[in-house]
């Protein structure tokens, strides 16, 4: 009898220790927001990197993210990707969880600035905040792209994910953030980033932007 009580106490103690592992994090789900899109650009005149995120809309949030807030926070601009992202996060009312990011949009000026571009990849490779499967695409002017968000039937992140997924071929998969991070180190392949042209209510396929041997840019198709 005594033995079984001891065993029972041990199991309760062990179980309560294991309970520590059941919660994913200290931050509650309700205190988080889940961006689906990240947009990065570079302003040559101000010598600043800009960052902003796109969130699911309240009306189409019943999917896997479970997010209901429609957040409108203006773009943050700072010296580096890391600082502008931190500045952007300060203005949010919730803690961003980038694990659900679908698409990373890079401005052409940003990719052409080798230092800013490599700083971003270094930061993302180190922190592993964004999933490596995140699609990457490019636009000439990110402001134009953000403008069309209100004219779309769904949020921009989901729209771009579906759009890029639709252009993906079995033999030629779409460029991802993981490819950019790997190629920055390997300097072996030429990568082709989808180049999009924003129109009023949709985006148009503009071909590919070549990022070669880890040193952007080489060619534009």
């Amino acid at each position: 009898m005594k033995k079984s009580i001891k065993k029972g106490l041990c199991m309760v103690l062990l179980g309560s220790c294991l309970l520590q592992l059941t919660a994913c994090a200290k931050t509650e789900l309700e205190e988080r927001c889940y961006p689906l899109l990240a947009v990065v650009d570079y302003d040559e005149d101000a010598n600043q990197v800009s960052f902003c995120a796109g969130f699911p809309r309240a009306d189409n949030s019943g999917g896997s993210t479970g997010q209901t807030a429609e957040l409108q926070v203006s773009t943050a601009s700072e010296k580096t990707f890391e600082t502008s992202k931190a500045e952007y996060e300060k203005n949010l009312n919730k803690v961003p969880d980038y694990n659900h990011i679908k698409v990373l949009v890079l401005g052409e000026d940003f990719v052409e600035n080798e230092q800013a571009y490599e700083d971003m990849l270094d930061h993302l490779s180190l922190t592993e905040e964004f999933p490596r499967n995140t699609y990457v695409c490019m636009v000439e002017d990110v402001e134009e792209l953000l403008e069309i968000d209100k004219n779309l039937p769904q949020d921009l992140g989901t729209y771009l994910e579906e759009y890029l997924g639709n252009h993906e071929e079995k033999k030629n998969r779409m460029l991802t953030l993981g490819d950019l991070i790997d190629e920055k180190e390997n300097k072996t392949l030429v990568l082709y980033a989808p180049y999009l042209i924003p129109e009023e209510t949709y985006v148009e396929w503009g071909g590919y932007y070549a990022i070669g041997a880890g040193m952007p840019p080489i060619d534009f198709e």
Binding site: Q20, L21, A23, A25, S64, T176, N186, T188
Partner: protein, 364 residues
């Protein structure tokens, strides 16, 4: 109920050793090999595993000479002036290595699943669960791993095959470029990770019988681990490239997170796949904690009748494992010191030691 006599079957030995060897090898080895040898890491794996087989043959020869397991041999053939230092050395080594396993295990859990939970909490839970598993005995763990074997191995191989889709041949095309010195270091590193084979000397078998089948089981486990490691390394090189691979922390876990199935099926497969290293690292931690506890119990056997004997000889080693893992995390240079210890002290002792035990110092 099962018989608690420390004996396990050949199949259980095979499966237990696959778990012991493959976890840490697939998790930690690829970035180091990529740094040293690039694509030539595959030669390091092949030659390193080959030396592992030579080491196993040597252990088999020692087992044959001893005619029984190491503990029984020490007890029956050696004086206490030899037995006690040997038991102490094996015990201390087991606990230090268990501390390393616990440290890697905790870091993996924190990195891949529960980032915001503190290192200490995860470590404590892992070591308490490991101590509980050790208290169940070797047979109990062997039976659990016997059942888990295919549940772990089939998804792992499946995921690895699925990663072929992203294989970039340009990344896996530069062979015979590594310097000879670095290649030798790579071979040594692979050999270091197969040294848990040393503990096969402690597997209990009937006097003069069955040691051959046991060696065959361990050799089978080594062969399967070498094949898994080789396949994983080639796929990692082809997916990430050698230069990117060497900057990664747990590349094989990252690889799992990049594999996607058609139709958005099982979105967080990577989280599920962490279970592979959960069980394999847990097995290695248990192996070392088991022998740490066993050596401690042999050393303090005269207190066997004391009421707190079993509890003390289980929780004191577990606390030491916690302390070692804590030190490795927070003391700068702790992990480097462990690697130096393992490379220059433990490994040579595990190779030369058993041979030295065969000569001299016989019991009066």
């Amino acid at each position: 109920m099962y018989v608690d006599n420390g004996k396990i079957s050949g199949r259980q030995t095979f499966r237990l050793y696959v778990f012991d060897l493959m976890g840490i090898a697939t998790l930690l080895l690829p970035p180091y090999l990529a740094r040293l040898c690039g694509c030539d890491g595959i030669w390091a794996i092949i030659i390193g595993s080959g030396t592992g087989f030579v080491y196993l043959l040597y252990l088999g020869w020692i087992m044959k000479k001893m005619g029984q397991d190491m503990l029984a041999y020490l007890k029956e053939q050696k004086s206490r002036w030899i037995r006690y230092p040997v038991l102490s050395l094996v015990g201390i080594h087991s606990l230090i290595t268990a501390g390393f396993c616990a440290c890697v295990f905790t870091r993996l859990m924190q990195h891949s699943l529960i980032r915001e939970v503190s290192y200490e909490v995860i470590l404590l839970v892992i070591v308490v669960v490991a101590a509980y598993a050790v208290s169940g005995g070797l047979e109990c763990r062997a039976r659990v791993y016997e059942v888990l074997f295919w549940f772990v191995l089939i998804p792992y191989v499946g995921m690895m095959l699925a990663s072929l889709r992203n294989f970039e041949t340009a990344y896996a095309a530069s062979f015979f470029t590594a310097e000879t010195g670095n290649l030798l270091k790579g071979i040594y590193l692979v050999f270091l990770l197969v040294t848990p084979l040393f503990f096969s000397l402690f597997l209990i078998h009937e006097k003069g019988k069955k040691y051959g089948s046991m060696i065959k089981s361990v050799a089978g486990a080594l062969l399967l681990t070498a094949i898994i490691l080789l396949g994983s390394y080639i796929l990692l090189i082809g997916n990430f490239g050698a230069n990117s691979l060497k900057t990664m922390r747990f590349p094989v876990v990252t690889l799992m997170s990049t594999i996607q199935f058609e139709g958005n099926f099982l979105k967080r497969m990577d989280a599920l796949m962490v279970a592979v290293w959960f069980f394999t690292l847990f097995a290695l931690l248990n192996l070392h904690l088991h022998y740490g506890v066993k050596m401690g119990r042999e050393l303090w056997k005269k207190y066997e009748k004391a009421r707190i004997y079993k509890g003390c000889t289980l929780f004191v080693p577990a606390a030491l494992v916690c302390a070692v893992a804590y030190g490795m995390e927070y003391w700068e240079g702790g992990l480097d010191l462990f690697l130096k210890y393992y490379s220059y002290v433990a490994m040579p002792l595990m190779v030369i030691g058993p041979g030295l035990l065969l000569i001299g110092g016989k019991k009066a």
